[in-house]
């Protein structure tokens, strides 16, 4: 039976009517039209569904929407204003780290969480931080370079 709950998404309080078994992924994409998050494997392996919950990356396909109550959810749409992109978004774009773009939103959110807790990560630490994200197009090379470039520019 459907229930009305309040979620804090990208800094805004959203009231949604959901089934109790709905995943956060489903509520974000289907109820709130936030399709920047992608649904791919559906079982918590590929990372395309990643959002930040209180600043930490989480597979939204494995999280019940109910469990997001009282927490701050940030999706790729809420990372930065369109006319003022986050340095990670700019770096991904400039370094050629975006090919088809399906993994990109999730990757960028995990990268942000990494740089928030570790502003000068090594290559190994970067690779471990994005290990939960599958990319089939880029071979991860330019994604790692983009994150390194952002880390350098943010440290200035």
């Amino acid at each position: 039976m459907k229930q009305e709950i309040v979620l804090k998404i990208n800094g805004k309080e959203e009231t949604v009517l959901i089934e109790p078994w709905q995943t956060l992924l489903s509520v974000l994409r289907d109820n709130l039209d936030l399709t920047g998050i992608k649904s791919s494997c559906g079982v918590g392996e590929c990372g395309a569904c990643t959002v930040l919950i209180n600043g930490s990356p989480v597979y939204s396909c494995l999280m019940l929407a109910m469990d997001a109550r009282g927490k701050d959810t940030v999706t790729i749409e809420g990372l930065a204003p369109l006319d003022s992109p986050h340095p990670l978004q700019t770096a991904f774009y400039e370094e050629g780290a975006i090919q088809c773009g399906m993994c990109t939103p999730g990757m960028i959110l995990s990268a942000k969480a990494l740089l928030d807790r570790n502003p000068q990560p090594s290559e190994v630490e970067i690779r471990e931080a994005i290990d939960g994200h599958v990319c089939r197009c880029t071979g991860y090379n330019k994604i790692v370079l983009a994150i390194q470039k952002t880390a350098r520019s943010l440290s200035k």
Partner: protein, 780 residues
């Protein structure tokens, strides 16, 4: 990176990609149209059975179901890439677990699944065939009894019988004579499994019929015009009533050359009034009902002289094709001609055979059979070097092809930087190993971690299939390109825009190019496949722009009056000026406006590319697909690995990949292709496969289970671009999309052999296989 050009040769981010970075781009799987229905497909649970009856009536009556359809609701027509053996909905029999029998369109997923469960199918099971050798036996069940009546798109001496839809034979010289001349003969068999493309966005199409009976399709695919034709072919809808738009696919890698969603979404839309219907494959459907890389069994017999000269190579490639032709009749001939490898053999004979079995059937996947061919061919070259004591780099520099040498088909090779790719990865060295290394490397005692270096190389084709594009000077003086290059992640339209800007003489930002392949308004292009877009569509774009530039100068000369003709003029940025004299100029915008009066409208032109290839003689090549290609591309991969001899795990420590691309229009994108391809190559070599259970049912349902490499599995890849030019390519460019991964697996095998002295003949090279081989070798 070139400095002689203004636009091309520079590292340009793909135009528009910020929309992926901020999540605003809508993939087909993100689309939500008003009233959109969910389409789901009913698939056969049996591998081989006669269909006695299909009853969709109860599904139709379920509230929330717009339609439930089967073969009775669409025209009975077989279609296919080279062999026309597929059907939208099976009507006579099902031939693999996953064969589509029916479809429903409903208000939501739950209702659609419930509707599927209400469809009643009566089957009469038939004896299935799962093993290709069993399928070849004279008393084997015949999977396609009407094989001889099936149409074939190409017929170059096509041979088909029993469970064999096609065979390919290519003959160069006389291999028996070659073997007689040889001092050593090597005979080996190599195998590869079913491997999925693992794109993150599945096959998906939204189809909607309007009140005039015209269908609009938004599809995640690789060719808008190709899909348009396929849907027309399957369902009989006139081409003029089908419009296909591809906004940008979430990956393809060949797997979306064919469509497994467009025909279904359209068929369901036919019966849903004007409501849009979305069909998107679920992950498990992708693995059982998509079109993965064909498994292969390649037997090679190679003759070599004791001084290391390669003399003759005979190959037989057997492909367990699965239940329908799919892309097999293209993949096998293609692979067949590349088993010889990039070497100057005097004699070669290559045969390939597709065999039907009651399993999931294969499609196009980056490398199109050549990944399998190179796994065998290069692996055996490494073995020859190992056994006979030749340095693998020196051996290849001695036997490798150069420009002017002939392919196994007799076609001359145009630009060829094969040897340069080797010396590039070697940083100029002409030997891989130090003196004496090969004599002692296999005498080392077994240690916990052992390192090795190896090399793999390859040959592939570029630039097939003619095409056209239109260029137009828009009213504001900017350049418009109307072409149907489809973006599957490779950013082809930026490269094409760069070619246009260079040819015209303007900046990249002054060029706009169609990016959604809209069939209503773009000229036909074959598809974004075969590493052909930069080469083929690039040539057409360049030709169109050349004409537009000439017409622009002509009109400008008329406007400017006393300049002495258009040869005195040049285009600089947004103006036409007298060469070297910016004070005498006219804005392009003015030229565009005035052309309406002067020439009756916009300056526009159609550019064309027709590959200059002659058909191959049937005595030499019998095939189910054309095998003439205008040019070839080459690469070398140099790998260092570390083998953990207790766990069997292999770490790729470093990987250098040098690719002959003719000329890199956009080096940033070329590097991205190489790097992405190498990662797929590492996965193919070490971890990836679709797995079956003992009842021949596919049990792989996610990319993780498939074994796709993650960021910690792949080193920083060192991609090197080699640019010998190419007479048939735009500004000398050739393709790189597919070649990217072909040399990787054999290079890794070569490095593993260097490390621990074992050779594996089957991919993926799993820890189990390594440990078994180490035990056999070291007796532990």
């Amino acid at each position: 990176m070139s400095t002689k050009y203004n636009v091309i040769g520079k590292r340009e981010p793909v135009v528009g990609r910020m929309d992926r970075a901020n999540g605003r781009f809508k993939f087909v799987t993100d689309m939500k149209l008003p009233g959109m229905l969910v389409g789901k497909l009913l698939r056969s649970p049996l591998p081989h059975a006669i269909i006695k009856n299909v009853d969709v009536s109860r599904a139709r009556r379920l509230p929330g179901v717009a339609c439930a359809i089967c073969w009775k609701d669409v025209r009975k027509k077989r279609y296919g890439f080279c062999v026309e053996d597929e059907a939208v909905f099976a009507w006579d029999r099902v031939r693999f677990i996953g064969d589509v029998i029916a479809g429903v369109a409903a208000v939501d997923e739950e209702t659609a699944h419930e509707a599927l469960s209400l469809i009643k199918v009566d089957y009469e099971p038939l004896e299935p065939v799962f093993d290709m050798f069993r399928a070849l036996e004279p008393d084997a069940p015949i999977i396609h009894p009407e094989l001889q009546s099936y149409g074939a798109m190409f017929n170059f001496g096509l041979i088909r019988y029993g469970n064999v839809p096609c065979t390919t034979i290519v003959i160069q010289g006389d291999v028996e004579e070659g073997f007689r001349e040889s001092d050593e003969i090597f005979e080996d068999t190599f195998t590869t499994p079913l491997v999925h493309q693992c794109y993150l966005e599945p096959h998906a199409t939204v189809a909607q019929m309007d009140l005039d009976g015209k269908f609009t399709l938004w599809s995640s695919g690789q060719g808008s015009h190709y899909y348009q034709y396929r849907v027309h072919q399957c369902l009989g809808i006139p081409m003029s009533k089908i419009r296909v738009i591809i906004p940008g696919a979430g990956g393809g890698f060949g797997g979306k050359m064919e469509t497994y969603s467009a025909q279904y979404a359209t068929a369901l839309a036919m019966y849903s009034g004007t409501k849009p219907v979305r069909v998107a494959l679920d992950p498990d459907e992708e693995f059982m009902g998509g079109d993965p890389r064909h498994p292969s069994r390649v037997t090679l017999k190679t003759g070599v002289k004791k001084d290391g000269t390669l003399i003759a190579r005979q190959s037989l490639m057997l492909v367990d094709n699965g239940a329908y032709g799919g892309q097999g009749p293209g993949v096998v001939p293609y692979a067949t001609i590349y088993t010889r490898g990039p070497y100057k053999f005097a004699h070669a004979r290559a045969e390939g055979m597709l065999i039907y079995t009651n399993k999931t059937y294969g499609g196009a996947f980056r490398g199109y059979g050549c990944v399998q061919a190179a796994w065998a061919g290069e692996n055996q070259i490494d073995k020859i070097c190992d056994v006979m004591g030749f340095d693998p780099v020196e051996f290849r520099l001695k036997n490798g092809v150069t420009s002017g040498d002939l392919m196994v088909t007799g076609q001359p090779i145009q630009s060829c930087a094969y040897k340069e790719t080797i010396t590039t990865v070697m940083d100029g060295a002409t030997k891989l190993y130090p003196e004496g290394h090969m004599k002692t490397r296999h005498q080392r005692p077994l240690e916990r971690k052992m390192r090795g270096r190896g090399i793999g190389t390859k040959e592939y084709s570029s630039g097939f299939r003619g095409t056209s594009a239109v260029a137009i000077l828009r009213e504001d003086g900017t350049l418009g390109i109307i072409s149907s290059g489809v973006d599957i992640g490779q950013g082809c339209n930026t490269s094409l825009a760069m070619i246009a800007a260079e040819e015209f003489g303007c900046k990249l930002e002054s060029v706009s190019i169609v990016t959604d392949g809209d069939t209503d308004s773009t000229p036909y292009d074959y598809s974004s496949i075969g590493s052909r877009v930069t080469h083929s569509l690039g040539r057409a774009v360049k030709d169109a722009v050349r004409q537009v530039r000439e017409q622009t100068l002509e009109v400008a000369a008329q406007i400017m009056g006393d300049v002495g003709g258009q040869d005195m003029l040049e285009i600089v940025d947004r103006r036409v000026q007298v060469k070297g004299d910016p004070t005498r100029s006219v804005d392009l915008e003015q030229v565009a406006w005035k052309s309406s009066n002067l020439i009756g409208g916009n300056i526009l032109a159609r550019g064309v590319y027709l590959p200059d290839v002659k058909p191959l003689p049937v005595e030499r090549v019998k095939s189910s697909m054309y095998l003439e290609f205008p040019s070839q591309v080459y690469s070398s991969h140099l790998v260092e690995v570390e083998v953990d001899t207790e766990t069997g795990q292999v770490r790729v420590l470093s990987l250098k990949a040098a690719h002959d691309v003719g000329f890199a229009i956009n080096p940033l994108v070329v590097e991205g292709q190489i790097e992405g391809g190498v990662a797929q190559g590492i996965g193919f070599a070490l971890t990836e496969s679709i797995k079956y259970d003992k009842n021949n049912r596919i049990v792989t349902t996610t990319v993780g289970q498939h074994g796709i490499p993650r960021a910690t599995d792949v080193p920083m890849i060192d991609a090197r671009i080699v640019e010998p030019g190419e007479p048939t390519g735009p500004f000398g460019a050739k393709g790189v999309g597919e070649p990217a991964l072909i040399a990787t697996a054999p290079a890794i095998m070569s490095a593993i052999n260097d490390a621990v002295g074992i050779r594996i003949y089957d991919v993926p090279i799993t820890p189990e296989k390594i440990l078994k081989a180490i035990r056999e070798r070291y007796g532990k």
